[in-house]
Assembly symmetry: C2
Homo-oligomer: 527 residues x 2
């Protein structure tokens, strides 16, 4: 017999006899415990209700849909072994800005489809801070149409749950399934989003000493969360290790396999905050966001959200030295997104249009540089080529903000890798870049401006949506559950201490690429 | 600090600090694990939702309502430590004929009140057999008014649940409480009633090889059973060890403390069937009902159900030798109940009105004996004194039935105590008589007819409603939970083998008091 690995298993329950008149439920339990090699499984009442007739109808065979929680396995449902009823799961990246739902066939592990949509909570507040404040109000009613009277928390909760329900349902329909075919739900989000998804008060997350209500949410009946999947379905939200290190990052570590590496590796998630984990199978050190004033503005806030017409790539024409641009979908340019901004800064620096302090140079910028209200503007696209009718410019203010952000990123990397883990950047075998924003960053550009350390290009690996990736992985592999708990348990989370030493390092990193240019040997022959 | 013992505990959660920024839920969990000396407790989502604000409002103190299941403790609810909100539990004897609900103050253990009512399922069938058959029909609709279309099982389930809900609500109101004050529900019933209460198919209980769907029902959210108590409440149904040995008996063993005795003791539950457990803290042997043809008619079916006007006691006037009667509430006699019947048979035998074969004697009965359709009638009450206008008689047919029943009871006792446990009746330190019917039996009468063995009167102890008693005990003492599981685990259940040896013993026991009268020395000077 082929060993079964996933959350759907074919089982054969010992039939009753005069020699074994143990109850059906207890024989089922024994069969499952043997199959799973465990000593505790929960069997839900709805499965019991029709167990005697089902077992006899199915000749004591069944297809068991399983899941786990912290202390036990859970029998989610028991299905006719002969029917071809689909057994699906949904993995969800519960992002602050964008939510992505993936539909997985639990028997094969194949992804059936994916659907991304904007988090409707954005109508209440663009970031978690605004939403948490709103959640603390007694009466919401501002954005939700379906509720008579409710708290801000209930409203935020309904918004996200309703949108997830709607999109699961649409995704199922598009692929010829029903939402009742979905038995498992795994979701990964930051700590605040996880609280809002569960309907748990998040207010203490933003009040000193900044503690979440829950670190490890138990697996819930999906009904408890008003998730409209199979009525026996269950839902699991990834655990967090604090207000600033959420389940999305635990999912990312799982997805990157960082916790199973021999040589130390690093994962950097450049999302709303910068979150970093370094380590291997023996140890994991993490730090995240909130690096004081250095990160104000945020690494990811450097530009527009990616959409058609947005400049996402900038490069220097080798012959003319002109700045070349690429826009999403080839539309007329409307603005520039984060990854484009990093490319742009790199191009400006490599062509000496900005100096090592990150200031525009009149000599090299030429007529593209002009002054308005005392501020330098660098025109990337003139009004004739722009999709807005206005020229697209980078101001010295924008550039200063980018400089701070890139310096903050480098400093944080330096603090965690060198000062905390006691390693050199060169010791890192892999440099995983996670997060949607991170996916678009060109490492060559990021190295050129001194945002990322000067490692061989082959060490950089883009993970894409690692939060979703981790959530999907859990649906496919029950062993991931224990890995998640172990990752959570073994991470040493360090608070970034923005002290004088940090500020000194930060000052050095504000140069292009760095005040100590020997750290960036690959740039030697470029500048 | 006084150690706390019950299911309601006052706790102090460690407040968060910069040194301990573990989530509220995990600090609560740690506090509870310490308090309970355990390593696993489940905390429900509704408690989490408002945990941060509640903990801070209550200065990190709380009143925890707890319960257990097979593998863990359960936090049922977390209450304001300063409010005097009542915390109640209901213990329920889910009898086939009659249901009794008891309301308990979980903080003091005091019983607030009790309410008994007829099991409304009787409208569908008087016994479990009829009900189980009915449960197997696809459409019920005969007796339930509230359901559009449903199965027989759903109908039977609704009948019992609705009646329990109604009576809990009335009981609460009568004592100035609300049903929302009730957090815990413990119920004990026979295996069939437990299945019907849970809404689980019971049909296999009556089909060879006679196996229940479930031996050990998990603790359920009360909502799952449609029990209308506090919305966070939980419900536990006592486990069974088979179709013929139900949770009511496990509850009875708990209540009798049989499982904690040093010397062997016996418990006999004379309900719809006769169920017997013998043992001590080291071993327990049980057998129950279904002793083939010997028990047809049933021990408890010997007379009317006890109600006003029913003869419940009969004795011999020492001077005149006349039979004296007592009726319930002193009303004019309407009939005779089981305990009255045993008294009557004893009185008839001790006055030689029946012989050792259990036949009426014309010489001693005199004019009270008459013949109709070839059957002997013994008139106990003439038509002038009867409440029905008809004389109240005992026929030879009735008496034969009683003789069979008492012989069956004695034989079963003999089989289990002597043949199975290898003891003599004299080795039994205590003889517990459980069940409502058993409560009214006069042991002297039962010994006189050879129904019970001739033990010193002080060894007999009436337990009353031991099923309810066990359910109540569990509400008061969390340790009872493990005792219940251990009792269930350690019982050796023996099938009564109605073979030639049994029939030989049975034949001997059909005499009054027994074919071997030396077994009843206390009768020597009475007959």
């Amino acid at each position: 017999m082929i060993p079964q690995k996933g959350f759907v298993r074919r089982i054969l329950v010992e039939p009753p006899s005069l020699n074994n008149n143990t109850a059906d439920a207890q024989r089922l339990e024994e069969c499952l415990l043997n199959e799973l090699g465990t000593d505790y499984i929960r069997i839900p009442l709805p499965v019991l209700k029709k167990l005697p007739s089902n077992l006899r109808l199915w000749e004591f065979k069944a297809k068991a849909v399983l899941f786990k929680d912290r202390h036990s396995w859970i029998l989610v449902d028991l299905l006719n072994p002969l029917s071809n009823c689909p057994v699906l799961g949904t993995a969800v990246d519960i992002g602050t800005t964008r939510i992505v739902v993936s539909l997985i066939d639990l028997e094969t592990g194949f992804e059936i489809g994916q659907k991304g949509f904007d988090n409707p909570q954005a109508a209440i507040g663009p970031d978690v801070l605004a939403r948490i404040h709103y959640s603390n109000q007694s009466f919401g009613q501002k954005f939700s149409q379906n509720m008579d009277q409710n708290s801000g928390l209930e409203e935020l909760n309904s918004l996200v749950i309703d949108s997830v329900n709607f999109n699961i349902s649409v995704l199922c329909k598009e692929h010829g399934f029903q939402k009742e075919d979905v038995y498992l739900f795994t979701g990964a989000g930051n700590t605040a989003m996880t609280h809002l998804f569960l309907g748990i008060e998040p207010i203490e997350i933003i009040k000193e000493p900044y503690i979440p209500c829950v670190n490890i949410p138990d697996t819930q009946p999906s009904k408890n969360l008003a998730l409209e999947i199979n009525e026996n379905g269950v839902a699991f939200l990834f655990p967090n290790i604090g207000s600033y290190f959420g389940g999305d990052l635990i999912a990312g570590i799982l997805f990157s396999d960082l916790d199973q590496k021999q040589a130390p590796c690093i994962m950097v998630d450049v999302g709303t905050n910068a979150e970093i984990v370094v380590g291997n199978s023996d140890w994991l050190i993490a730090c995240a966001g909130a690096a004081g004033p250095a990160l104000e503005g945020g690494v990811s806030k450097m530009g527009m959200t990616a959409k058609p017409g947005v400049i996402d790539q900038v490069w220097v024409d080798a012959d003319t030295g002109d700045l070349m641009i690429h826009t999403i979908d080839g539309k007329k340019p409307l603005g520039i997104c984060g990854s484009g901004m990093i490319d742009l800064a790199a191009s400006l620096f490599l062509t000496k249009r900005i100096d090592i302090r990150g200031k525009f140079s009149i000599q090299t910028c030429g007529e593209n540089l002009f002054k308005k209200d005392g501020i330098n503007y660098f025109m990337l696209v003139d009004e004739n080529h722009s999709g807005t009718g206005e020229p697209i410019c980078l101001t010295q203010v924008d550039l200063n903000s980018l400089t701070s952000s890139k310096a903050a990123m480098y400093t944080i990397l330096e603090v965690i890798v060198k000062n905390t883990a006691g390693l050199e950047f060169e010791d890192l075998e892999k440099f995983y870049v996670a997060g949607t924003f991170g996916s678009f960053i060109n490492p060559v550009s990021a190295i050129s401006i001194g945002m990322l350390p000067d490692l061989p290009l082959k060490s950089f690996e883009v993970l894409g949506n690692s939060s979703l990736g981790g959530a999907k992985q859990l649906l496919k592999n029950p062993d991931a559950f224990e890995r998640i708990m172990k990752i959570r348990q073994s991470i040493t989370y360090i608070e970034l201490n923005v002290n004088q030493e940090f500020m000194n390092m930060f000052s050095g990193a504000k140069f292009y690429p760095h005040t100590d240019s020997s750290r960036f040997p690959s740039l030697q022959n470029k500048i």
